[in-house]
Symmetry: C2
Subunit: 221 residues, 2 copies
């Protein structure tokens, strides 16, 4: 099996924003982040991820579960890893997620600043990748050993990989929430021209789930 | 009852476009328009509007029916009325809809070019309104006699009324369709800053229906 690059469970507001504005240490998801993510936070799958019982089953839960299937490596932008900008001041910051992050795989953090890998509980290793999106993808695919690579975000990282046509499939959860401002996911990006199409869509309890797929090149290979 | 200005059944693609690109005489809804409007075209309500039997019932159908309730007058932009631009060459063009348009009320067409009203079958009268969006709204409200005024579109007309905070409620049908290009409904518009909020949302069979409402002014009146 070839390893694919997938975006999973990326939440988009109905006015087109892929993340809440004003991300901070107190508000890692940005303003209105929790309202955006409500479809996920209520699921059994998410409860389970936090080591808790309970949570709702149904379509949103199925979509969340599907998001974690067959993932062999993760990639994320630096802003998703934490609020620190510029060179790393020390080794202290190890992500938003505590000692046992929900990744359990090699997890590449795109950054311009070198830092030694950090091994966490549960199999997550944060690897600070400074060689750009394409080289990092190649390393992540090698590390995934045939499983898929999940691209977590944030918005600007997804946009970079999209524009480079490196994403094979995106699962977007479109939420009936207004953000008003923030980072627009598709501004200036023509997804049709980039070769994407709607592969399927499912109406969940709290979100409309849309799967975009890169059309295979009309190739002779 | 005070007459309100309502947008109903306005279809938005998941990438933010409110109308298909390249509208023309052959393609009044623009390229991919029929794919966008599929949620509506399949409903019993729409079949009924065309004088046909059949069509599907369900949530999308209920949403479509709600869109025609209590409408006493209509407003539309000129491009929605037809493909002619500039001064009216003659009296020949009477809309896309044949002899009996689905409006059945006074219907104001915003234009810069004077033209005498056109009386159609079924109670639709097209009135060519040259005095701007605000004055036209006042005339339409007077003509609606206590019922609501429905703003049909297109995108640039809705944007003008939105930015002037003249719309009381918008029902948007968000479709899992990619348009890639066209007219973006909310580009550069911060709906929260304009005072809108999500009043309710409903997952239909083929669209996510979102109702935006202008928050009442924190007023003493």
């Amino acid at each position: 099996m070839t390893s694919r690059l997938l975006v999973r469970c990326l939440t988009v507001s109905m006015d087109g924003f892929g993340a809440g504005p004003d991300q901070s240490l107190d508000n890692p998801l940005g303003v209105r982040g929790p309202e955006m993510m409500e479809w996920l936070l209520k699921t059994r799958s998410f409860h389970h991820m936090l080591g808790k019982d309970g949570g709702e089953t149904g379509i949103d839960n199925e979509m969340a579960e599907e998001g974690f299937r067959n993932v062999g490596a993760n990639i994320m932008g630096r802003n998703m890893f934490g609020p620190i900008r510029g060179p790393w001041p020390d080794e202290e910051w190890k992500g938003w997620w505590g000692e046992d992050p929900p990744y359990h795989t090699p997890t590449y953090v795109l950054t311009h600043y070198v830092r030694a890998p950090v091994h966490m509980k549960g199999g997550t290793t944060f690897i600070f990748a400074t060689e750009g999106i394409q080289a990092t993808l190649e390393q992540a695919k090698a590390a995934a050993k045939g499983r898929d690579v999940r691209l977590g975000g944030g918005v600007s990282t997804v946009r970079q990989y999209l524009e480079a046509r490196l994403i094979d499939e995106l699962h977007l959860a479109v939420r009936p929430v207004l953000l008003g401002k923030g980072e627009k996911l598709f501004d200036g990006i023509d997804l049709l021209a980039l070769g994407y199409e709607v592969a399927k869509s499912v109406q969940g309890e709290r979100a409309m789930h849309v799967f975009l797929r890169k059309r295979p090149a009309t190739a002779t290979k």
